[in-house]
């Protein structure tokens, strides 16, 4: 490792800040891949892998990826929920790795909902 200068230090900080930002809980969007038994059987692990690959490829550091249980609509798994900060969450159904990559590109990064894969916007009422 060469000895750093002040400029190198700043570059290094910018490169690695994203990974840590996720630990500190600051992100512009959150994607939840539903990982119930039904989801996993229908291919949710592959969908997750495609999502992580897309994030890696684009060098995006401030998108949070998480998992959750069955979303209740087992017949239309794999499903994912995309929440862009200060917008209503959108649920996607019947995802494939390719579809997931498209959702990431178009919705998470571009802000435009992928209509043909979307089930609905909003949340179920709870409580």
């Amino acid at each position: 490792m060469p000895r750093l200068t002040i400029d190198d230090l700043k570059k290094m900080r910018d490169q690695s800040a994203g990974a840590i930002a996720l630990r500190a809980g600051t992100a512009r969007a959150k994607v939840t891949v539903h990982m119930g038994t039904c989801g996993i059987a229908a291919g949710a692990r592959e969908v997750m892998a495609a999502l992580l690959a897309a994030i890696e490829e684009q060098g995006v550091t401030d998108v949070m990826v998480t998992t959750s249980g069955c979303a209740g609509l087992c017949s239309r798994e794999p499903m994912a929920t995309v929440e862009v900060r200060s917008q209503a969450p959108v649920k996607y159904v019947n995802l494939t790795p390719e579809k997931m990559a498209q959702v990431f590109q178009q919705h998470v990064l571009g802000g435009e909902v992928v209509m043909d894969a979307a089930l609905a916007a909003g949340c179920e009422t709870t409580g």
Binding site: L4, I6, R13, I20, A27, G36, M48, I55, T61
Partner: protein, 607 residues
């Protein structure tokens, strides 16, 4: 590969002793078995603070806190939370008196009331990776100090921040730096910077935790200090008893050297500076500046008279700037965020005189009779009540609060009437205690204040170096008197004798160990004199602690003959047939109290 989730396993000394290394390895194995290794990262962090519930871990970005984990919990935790995204309620923390476990950090009062400045990276970074520290703005302050500020500007910023020494004395750091720089320039010699990590107070572990969780913060502070003062050589004087802290610090120093943050031409500038680790042998007095310098030089760790301070003639008679671990760790933040940010926390107005208030935060180790023992950081000026009852969760088993001991053996005990007092340097001193390095020992109504004073005086008697007579003999005599009182052999005039000896020691001892040594006696006399009187005049220990003054008896009406006390008793003092009331033989009883703990019917009485 980017990770979607991070499992932050606490690897502070407390959790390590509860098996957190094995736990981390088990989680990693389970993650690999589930084929999640590319998605979930396991990070070992420094102390996360909640030592009472160890081993603990946090799953991010969800912010879910798990505690008291054991290896058999791991498969369910990985499958449910990390694979399926369902946090596992039964492994979460349940606050005392709460109806159900609470999942996230922000909902747990222990964490919610704290303000993390010095400990900002605890639980977030891997202390053994410099890249993690840099990602959290690490060494940015050093870049600023080297690239944009003159040494005078750095010293001025520290002065304006009102930062006062966190090792106990509360001396303004900026003033110390300026004096050291001046002395070096005046004499044309190179000054030395030293970090005091010789934390020896019973029950205190702030400095250890800071080094364990964020060693680079201390190193960065020291490099900035070296730049401001003009030093090329630095030392960290650390106790031999802190192996994890020392290893992490050594690793961090190696990384800093490799990256050009230490050595010749720091960050490509003209600054040359390096730091060596020196191990202390565990003598309490070596935390005192002149004794520490002697020990650094390889001599016996004894203090000298301080009409000339070490800041002018210290290590090898060079001007030596000594600051505590926590003080150094504050420096990068002040340079990065400015003095005004720092003074926005704390009490008093320090704009033209740092002695006028206490700015910033303070790290405390909260221990003793309190539910949430652990390591906390709070803004200066918070009340003792908030620390003990909100963050600390109150006294275990619903017992009454009696006193809190602050400042270690040099500090004092404060009673319940002081609970609403703000915690800062000057309020604590005015109340007869002191900030000290930040140990905080909570005591309940089963604590005898004479016994507490006797314990601390006993500790100091052992640790006194014996160089000056007031300390050596004053402590020995005080211990004799206190032991006499606790054995019920106290006489009228003993209390006055203690007060007189305390006064002489305060005036005549060579160093601060001796001059502050009477504090445990004087503060307990000030607030709990009636307890001393009960021991001396009535030969009674109101708290039921002093063994010579109590005896155990079995209430024949309440005892159901369950035999639990017979099993617990190690001397065979209790006899009796099962299902018939038992008897206690006073001649064999050593008054250990094991029977009272074992009895479920409160049939064992302490009188």
């Amino acid at each position: 590969m980017a990770f979607r989730s991070h499992v932050l396993v606490c690897a502070g000394t407390g959790c390590v002793s509860c098996g957190s290394f094995e736990l981390g390895a088990a989680i990693e194995a389970e993650i690999a078995r589930r084929d999640l290794a590319g998605e979930v990262q396991v990070v070992r962090t420094g102390c996360q603070g909640f030592c009472a519930e160890g081993p603990v871990l946090i799953v991010q970005p969800d912010g879910v806190f798990y505690c008291g984990l054991k290896k058999p919990d791991v498969p369910a935790l990985v499958e449910e939370h990390l694979l399926k995204g369902r946090p596992v309620t039964k492994l979460m923390y349940t606050p005392p008196a709460a109806p159900a476990p609470v999942p996230t950090l922000s909902q747990i009062p222990f964490f919610a009331k704290q303000k993390l400045v010095v400990l900002r990276n605890r639980g977030l970074i891997d202390p053994e990776r410099i890249e993690d520290y840099i990602a959290r703005d690490g060494y940015a302050a050093l870049a600023k100090a080297l690239g944009e500020m003159t040494p005078e500007q750095i010293i001025q910023e520290i002065k304006l921040s009102g930062l006062r020494g966190r090792g106990g004395g509360g001396f303004p750091t900026g003033v110390k730096w300026a004096t050291c720089r001046q002395a070096a320039v005046h004499r044309g010699v190179e000054p030395i910077v030293v970090c005091n990590a010789d934390e020896g107070d019973p029950g205190a572990f702030m400095d250890r935790s800071i080094i364990e969780s964020d060693p680079h913060a201390v190193i960065e502070g020291m490099i900035i200090g070296a730049r401001a003062i003009g030093a090329t050589q630095g030392f960290v004087y650390i106790r031999h008893e802190y192996p994890i802290a020392r290893e992490r610090l050594a690793k961090a120093l190696d990384q800093a050297r490799e990256y050009g943050l230490l050595g010749r031409g720091v960050l490509g500038t003209k600054l040359d500076f390096d730091i060596s680790i020196v191990q202390g042998a565990g003598a309490f007095v070596c935390g005192e500046s002149t004794a520490l310098m002697a020990s650094l030089e390889g001599k016996v760790g004894e203090p000298r008279a301080k009409y000339i301070h070490t800041v002018e003639y210290g290590y090898k008679n060079l001007p030596t700037n000594l600051n505590n671990v926590e003080t150094w760790a504050n420096v990068p933040l002040i340079i990065n965020r400015g003095a005004a940010w720092f003074t926005s926390m704390g009490t008093g107005d320090v704009s033209d005189n740092p002695w006028n208030g206490s700015s910033g935060t303070k790290v405390f180790s909260l221990v003793g009779k309190v539910n949430n023992t652990g390591l906390i950081e709070v803004p200066m000026g918070i009340t003792l009540r908030e620390i003990i009852f909100d963050i600390g969760g109150g006294i275990p088993r619903g017992r009454a609060f009696k006193a809190v001991q602050t400042g270690g053996p040099s500090g004092g005990c404060l009673p319940a009437s002081h609970l609403d007092m703000p915690v800062d340097f000057d309020s604590l001193t005015a109340a007869g205690s002191m900030m000290g390095s930040g140990g905080m020992i909570v005591m309940d109504d089963q604590t005898c204040m004479v016994d507490v004073a006797r314990y601390f005086i006993g500790f100091l008697t052992e640790e006194s170096c014996g160089k000056c007579i007031p300390c050596r003999e004053g402590l020995r005599c005080s211990l004799d008197v206190l032991t006499r009182i606790s054995e019920g052999k106290g006489e009228e005039g003993d209390v006055e004798l203690l007060e007189e000896m305390g006064g002489v020691m305060q005036d005549a001892c060579l160093c601060a160990l001796g001059s502050s040594a009477p504090n445990p006696v004087i503060s307990t006399l000030r607030y709990f004199r009636d307890e001393y009187d009960a021991h001396v005049r009535e030969h009674r220990c109101p708290a039921g602690v002093c063994k010579a003054l109590i005896k155990y008896e079995i209430d024949q009406a309440k005892c159901d003959g369950c035999h639990a006390c017979v099993t617990a008793c190690s001397t065979g003092a209790i006899t009796g047939q099962v299902k018939y009331p038992h008897l206690l033989n006073q001649d064999l009883c050593i008054k250990c109290g094991a029977c009272i703990e074992a009895c479920k019917r409160e049939a064992v009485l302490r009188a």
